[in-house]
């Protein structure tokens, strides 16, 4: 145990459970915290929860290697916080959200959500080891230009030319292609009920979705 960090970096499992359950000392229902409002204790709690609980699926630094679980490193904090709140409210209804995240997020308070979102957004997004080396082709074309004939807008118009996300629009670069595909299918079927993305995905065919997903996973 000599290698363990100092006591201040340690936290009992109980405390982590408490933190993730949102039952620490923070009032439930407080106003959403901005990154600069997250105190040091909340940051430390979030770091421990992220590494020892969330990390089992999403990776210690949010660079998940398992395609079922999305990569969170470098993701927009606003987007992450919005998703955690959607899980908590059970308004995000894609299958894995229901199976996994409705439970995990059910007792998170706003402050913990803000701290977790901040932790992941601050992590360095590493290139996906599963990515195919695709830099061009159909995926790139649809991402950058859309499909005018089908009424599909360019993805880059919201997600940024480098797919790193803009504002509340999430980062897609380096994301598992399997995850992106499942989300597009969920938008299309409205299991994940987001009006904008439903419209975007509605006319996408399966090969086109696959091309976009593969292109995105290969982006740095």
């Amino acid at each position: 145990m000599q290698d363990l960090k100092k006591a201040r970096f340690q936290m009992t499992w109980a405390a982590r459970v408490m933190a993730i359950a949102g039952l620490a000392v923070i009032a439930v229902g407080s106003a959403p915290a901005r990154a600069d409002e997250i105190d040091a204790a909340a940051r430390e709690r979030a770091r421990l929860v992220a590494i020892t609980v969330c990390g089992t699926c999403h990776g210690r630094t949010g660079n998940s290697t398992q395609p079922k679980f999305p990569r969170l490193a470098g993701q927009s904090a606003n987007y992450l916080a919005a998703q955690l709140k959607a899980f908590r409210a059970q308004t995000r209804g894609d299958p894995d959200a229901i199976s996994y995240m409705w439970g995990m997020a059910s007792e998170l308070d706003d402050s913990t959500i803000a701290a977790l979102a901040d932790y992941y957004s601050a992590q360095k997004a590493e290139p996906s080891s599963n990515a195919l080396s695709l830099q061009g082709g159909t995926g790139k074309q649809i991402y950058e230009q859309g499909i005018a004939a089908e009424g599909v807008p360019a993805c880059s118009s919201c997600h940024g030319s480098d797919a790193h996300g803009v504002g509340d629009f999430p980062r897609l670069a380096g994301q598992h292609s399997q995850y992106v595909l499942k989300q597009l299918a969920s938008f299309q079927s409205n299991m994940r009920n987001v009006a904008v993305m439903h419209g975007v995905a509605l006319n996408l065919r399966s090969p086109e979705m696959s091309a976009i997903a593969a292109y995105l996973e290969a982006q740095p």
């Binding site: 145990m1 290698d3 363990l4 960090k5 970096f9 340690q10 009992t12 499992w13 109980a14 405390a15 982590r16 459970v17 408490m18 993730i20 359950a21 039952l23 000392v25 421990l48 590494i51 020892t52 609980v53 990390g55 089992t56 699926c57 210690r60 290697t65 398992q66 395609p67 079922k68 229901i98 199976s99 996994y100 409705w102 439970g103 995990m104 997020a105 059910s106 007792e107 599963n130 499942k182």
Partner: protein, 480 residues
């Protein structure tokens, strides 16, 4: 070896082998329980491929002491923010039932007419075969439990089944890698293990208790399940490297001291009483990549037993030294799930004079299986099993021990005997499963023996073939 007969001693050692063999093909079943799902708010698939096989997340959940919770708690906190109490508002209880039907290829003789043409009924319904009540979940902030209380139709009683109490915590190493550490207080060597390649949680996950079991099984292969108390300490580094050491001591259920009537101390009227503490050890390494997971490991134990059974708890011991290797591979996709499991157990026996025909014997058990599931709904497993070792007519006798049955045989009924004293048994198990909902499973399983108690033909010397023990087992298995 004073005051005891050779037949008593042999029966004593035989009891270990038979207990192990019984557990080999009819394991005391335990289970993934819906109370965990209620506690975590996550569906079964987070922790299981299909119950009771664990995913990586399930293994980490277990190592952390079953305490991850996402439900509102009744709490008490001191002025120094020390957590004094954390109780779930929903008690983590579950029930589990197994209803089964067993058909053997050839029925066994009717003992009331041994030597005559009469046979026992073939086609045994278990309704239920087993009914269990679980408490499975968090007890206190760093303390969780898996308690199973079971009614079984063969014993006709309710008794303590698999139990695993854990204290666990996780710390971050200087390089931000998590180190989980804890202790387990449990009643079955390997029931605390994280992988499904070790005996307590290995395939077959369910089996008939109305069939014929082979004579031989290694000691670590369930011989002491629910009959011992063990304390082990473990570490899990970075959710991949696992090490555990501990020890077990006899803790027999339903056994009382003949003099005082108390639950102990055990004396020579009991059999197979552990001398001191039986050491147990386990190492394993798991690597996860993409949707794959691969584990390789080793485990072992050394059981030193007083034969007892009427002899004082002193003098020569029967010693069973088990060393085993195991492997597990999983591919877990949304559509397809593939699991490969395997273990090989080597046992070296040193036997007290009069306990067996030989002063030392060896016994090896190997098992391997492949499971496939489509969308967690339809799947199947094919498995191979083999036990082989030294021939020892003392351990694997040609006639049933006379006191093991209340009936005086008019002639040797065979079936559970070995004409040549060999333990060698091998065969295949094939199983198909339909899982309409994640907590309900319907199975059809067929066990086929190529060799049984030392031979494929006339293994018992009275005309029974190994294949006569082939068993069809139909099962409805559910939990809530």
């Amino acid at each position: 070896m004073t005051c005891r007969t050779q037949s008593q001693a042999i029966r004593s050692v035989l009891a270990v082998a038979v207990l192990a063999a019984t557990s080999l093909l009819a394991p005391s079943l335990a289970f993934a329980v819906p109370s965990f799902a209620r506690q975590t708010g996550m569906a079964c698939e987070a922790c299981h491929t299909v119950y009771p096989e664990l995913t990586h997340f399930g293994r980490v959940f277990k190592a952390n002491g079953y305490i991850l919770t996402n439900v509102r708690q009744v709490r008490d906190v001191s002025g120094k923010k020390e957590e004094l109490l954390s109780l779930a508002q929903t008690v983590p209880l579950s029930i589990m039932a197994q209803v089964s039907y067993t058909q053997m290829k050839t029925s066994v003789p009717d003992l009331t007419a041994a030597g005559a043409p009469g046979v026992a009924q073939n086609g045994s319904a278990g309704f239920p075969q087993q009914l269990s009540l679980f408490y499975a979940g968090k007890i206190a902030p760093n303390f969780g439990a898996f308690f199973q209380l079971t009614y079984a139709n063969d014993s006709g009683t309710i008794s303590m089944d698999n139990t695993d109490l854990r204290f666990a915590d996780t710390a971050l190493m200087s390089d931000n890698h998590p180190l989980t550490y804890g202790v387990s207080l449990n009643n079955n060597p390997t029931v605390q293990d994280l992988w499904n390649s070790t005996p307590a949680w290995g395939f077959p996950f369910a089996a008939s208790n109305a069939n014929v079991s082979p004579l031989a099984g290694t000691a670590i292969d369930g011989a002491f399940a629910q009959d011992v108390a063990g304390l082990t300490a473990y570490v899990l580094w970075n959710e991949s490297l696992y090490a555990e050491v501990g020890g077990y001591r006899s803790a027999k259920q339903g056994s009382t001291n003949a003099l005082t009537g108390g639950a102990g101390p055990l004396d020579g009227t009991a059999s197979n009483v552990m001398s001191g503490v039986a050491p147990y050890w386990r190492v394993a390494y798991e690597h996860n990549w993409k949707a794959h997971s691969l584990e390789v490991g080793a485990y072992g134990a050394q059981f030193r037993l007083y034969p007892g059974a009427g002899a004082p708890l002193e003098g020569p011991l029967n010693e069973f030294k088990d060393v085993a290797e195991d492997l597990q591979y999983q591919f877990i996709g949304d559509e397809n799930i593939i699991t490969v499991g395997a273990t090989h157990i080597h046992e070296a026996m040193t036997l007290a004079p009069g306990s067996a025909a030989n002063p030392s014997d060896t016994l090896n058990t190997s098992r391997a299986w492949v499971t496939y599931y489509y969308r967690r709904h339809i799947g199947g497993t094919v498995g191979y099993f083999s036990t082989s070792g030294s021939a020892d007519p003392g351990l694997y006798p040609a006639e049933p021990p006379p006191s093991d049955s209340g009936v005086a045989f008019s002639s040797n009924p065979g079936v559970v005997t070995s004409a040549n004293g060999s333990p060698d048994t091998r065969g295949w198990i094939a199983e198909v499963n339909y899982v309409p909902w994640l907590n309900v499973k319907i199975s059809a399983q067929y066990t086929m023996y190529n060799q049984f108690n030392g031979a494929s033909k006339n293994y018992d010397g009275v005309g029974r073939n190994a294949s006569d023990n082939n068993t069809l087992y139909l099962l409805l298995w559910f939990a809530y």
